[in-house]
Amino acid sequence: MDAQISVRDIVKVYPNGVVANKKVSLDIQEKTIHAIVGENGAGKTTLTKILFGLELPQEGEIFVKGKKVHFRSPIDAIKMGIGMVHQHFMLAENLTVFENLILGIEPTKFKIFLDKKTAKEKILKYIEKYKIDIPLEKKIKELPIGVKQRVEIFKALLRDVDILILDEPTAVLTPQEAEVLFESLRELKNQGETIIFISHKLKEIKAIADVITIMRDGRVISTNSNEELTQHDIARLMVGREVSFERVEEPKEIGKVVLTVKNLTYTNSERIKVLKNINFEVREGEIVGIAGVEGNGQTELVELITGLKTPTEGEIRLFDENISGKSVREIRTRGLVHIPEDRMKNGVAEKAKLKENLISDRYYKPPFSNKGALNYNYIDSEANRLVKDFNIITQSIENPVSSLSGGNIQKVIVTRELSSNPKVIIASQPARGIDVGSEELVHNFIKEARDKKCAVLLVSADLDEILKLSTRVLVIYNGEIVKSFNEVSTLRAEDLGPYMLGVKRGD
């Protein structure tokens, strides 16, 4: 067996009963860039977690460099020369780059004390070898995202790995930053590294991969060399049917201004100005997309508009009334709803019943309750109606939300938010990490709301989503709106890139 990694008949069942890998088999050859692609929930992240010792499979065998292995923890994987760069950086924010780099491989003096000098010498040697530039004494939290990722990759190299797993490494990067990353990956391949590259972005895969494995629904569908597949083939194999990337039709009628953001500035608790003088309007019946690389102030913008945070300066006007500083409840009663970016953190109480999650914004209103007493007859019938109308797949409204799949949990949130006849929708990453079917549904619900004269603010890092739904597009970079596009039908992702990276600025 000359493959670097051979996987045979892997089965993984999670404690909640979800079967993520159903007899997966795969070979990965030395010194190749091997892409594993598939929609969210296809099982590729689970597979890489198993390869890196983060999850234990119930069945199946793994061979690394011809040797059968049983990884019980990442230590075992690292010992066999496997390193991983996670989607969410695995760095301790308050420690320095140096401390993060040596964590787990600390040289010692007298067997007890840290030998910082030896560690530094080794790091400098590797910096020279791989020509990677990183500031050693800075704390991680002071670094931009691209540099953090470089630290992550370097951290793996420092551990002398020759197989590098990258889990959706470009998800947080701009197209330009991604290009830099690809350059260094090619360089690493030339230096003898084997790279496993997880993604669901077809263009990237075509650009970088030597071999492409497609996964769907927990199974491997095919493994081919790059040349044998077109983007179209990959898309078809990934989702098992043709998908339209077509834009939704233009709105018929755009009405009056509903939401106005005026000179909005926000300084966070670390005294960093996260938002600088933001101005825009959203009208009835239109979807305004805010495009940008994550972490450029979008989260704060949404939290300010929805009342979770109070602006430092400026105004947010809803129907000609200044709502900045008002409570979430006050803002919600005025017809503004919010599909939150972090589904599990804000969107649901996963251990609470489904029906309890569906009423969290309206339980205090009659007929859901009367004089402080909950009316379960009405709540139950209403919850059952919503489950049916919005196609939430569950056995009972009495079950906890945690028993649902990711896509269905997102449907629960969208159902609750859109079923209250909203006037304004703030949707943040509404289709992140959910299956294609649910994504279609969610996008349709948003479009339907638009057609019912809702004003929609769509904040997304997914350019396809922005280009598919938006009537107008604003680009946010470093806390500022740097460009607005009023004509979206002819807009391409590449047009947005330079603005998202801050290379170009509009007027």
Binding site: V13, G17, H338, K345, N346, A349, E356, S360, S369, L374
Partner: protein
């Protein structure tokens, strides 16, 4: 069978934890007692051997039920408020003082009783407000705050009683005796089971209704499940944190005064009686559900009375019960205890679903 185990898994787990606790106690008795068989009998059957002992179980369960509810309400909001101990104590002290002060008004018995109980209840609410507010406003650590407040409550109460309401004729440190028309009637012959027990049972149902059938109860539970979600939904988390502590305090305060009026008829504690900690124990065993807490309190009281019988009639000290209790709580709070059994059943069920009809090939 598998489905049944999955459905009632938590109940089965609790029962197994209790059985292990019993097994350990038998083991300890076999080791330390010179007449183990007798001792085992005292511990487990002792509480049922006379009417007065059965009465003792109910008497002891009464304050524990109150404190269990007082702990469960903030716990439902994920606020680790362990202040019931001090709240119970200081409300009883100030309630006693209040009862003695308004004694001269010669109020009719019923009004007098209602007035004093109301005062103590509200005082409990006030004492609960302190950590609730400090936590919500300044984000101070709830556990530490309430631990400190328990000590503060203790010293302030002792000061109040010993310096201002001390009955010097009593021959021991205690308050003056309460007037007879404020006694809560002991209504079962040969026991000291008093009206306070009925109030406790009523409180159980009130608390249950409050938590599961009112909007504020809903808010408390949602904050407990996920406060980010509560905030995002428009629930006033600040209000919920404060009120969950206040409402918990109300029940502790009521319980403290009922205990004084029903059993002792004067404030005679010179050390903390520990009912607040018992409240934590029963809240854990009863998963913060008032009705389950009622049963847990009776169970705990049964254990304690068994321990007392043991202490009285054998050579084994009462503190053994504390050891058993702690083992039971540890096992009940240990979420992963027996979890692998559940997991194995779940996996088996899921695999059955997936692999049937050979759909994997």
């Amino acid at each position: 069978m598998e489905k049944f185990v999955l459905k009632y898994f938590n109940l089965i787990r609790t029962i197994i934890a209790i059985l292990i606790g019993f097994a350990v106690s038998v083991l300890i008795l076999v080791i330390v007692s010179t007449s183990s068989i007798e001792s085992i009998k005292y511990l487990f059957l002792g509480p049922f051997m006379s009417v007065s002992r059965i009465g003792n179980i109910v008497e002891l369960a009464t304050p524990i039920i109150f404190c269990g509810i007082a702990i469960a309400i903030p716990f439902q909001a994920s606020q680790f408020n362990v202040g019931a101990e001090g709240t119970f104590f200081i409300s009883a002290a100030f309630g006693t003082a209040f009862a003695l002060i308004i004694q001269k008004l010669n109020l009719p018995g019923f009004i007098y009783i209602v007035l004093v109980l109301t005062f103590a209840t509200l005082f409990g609410g006030f004492w609960g407000f302190i950590p609730g507010y400090l936590k919500a406003r300044f984000k101070a650590n709830m556990v530490v705050l309430t631990l400190m407040l328990n000590y503060a409550a203790y010293f302030l109460s002792i000061y109040l009683i010993n310096y201002h309401f001390r009955d010097k004729s009593a021959g021991f440190l205690t308050s003056y005796r309460l007037p007879e028309n404020i006694f809560l009637k002991q209504f079962v012959p040969n026991t000291r089971i008093h009206i306070g027990f009925l109030i406790a049972i009523a409180s159980v149902f009130i608390a249950y209704y409050f938590l599961y059938h009112t909007t504020l109860g809903y808010e408390i539970r949602m904050v407990g499940f996920n406060f980010h979600f509560a905030k995002y939904s428009g629930i006033d988390v600040f209000k919920v944190i404060v009120l969950s502590s206040v409402i918990g305090g109300l029940f502790a305060g009521l319980g403290g005064m009922a205990e004084v009026m029903g059993i002792h008829r004067r404030f005679l504690w010179q050390s903390l009686p520990g009912y607040g900690w018992d409240g934590v124990v029963v809240a854990i065993i009863g998963k913060n559900n008032p009705i389950l807490i009622m049963f847990a309190s009776l169970f705990l009281a049964y254990l304690r009375i068994g321990g007392r019988v043991l202490n009285l009639l054998s050579d084994v000290p009462f503190e053994m019960v504390g050891v058993i209790e702690s083992i039971i709580i540890l096992l009940i709070t240990a979420e992963a205890f027996l979890e692998n059994v559940k997991y194995r059943i779940t996996v088996k069920e899921a695999e059955k679903e997936v692999f049937k009809n050979g759909s994997l090939s």
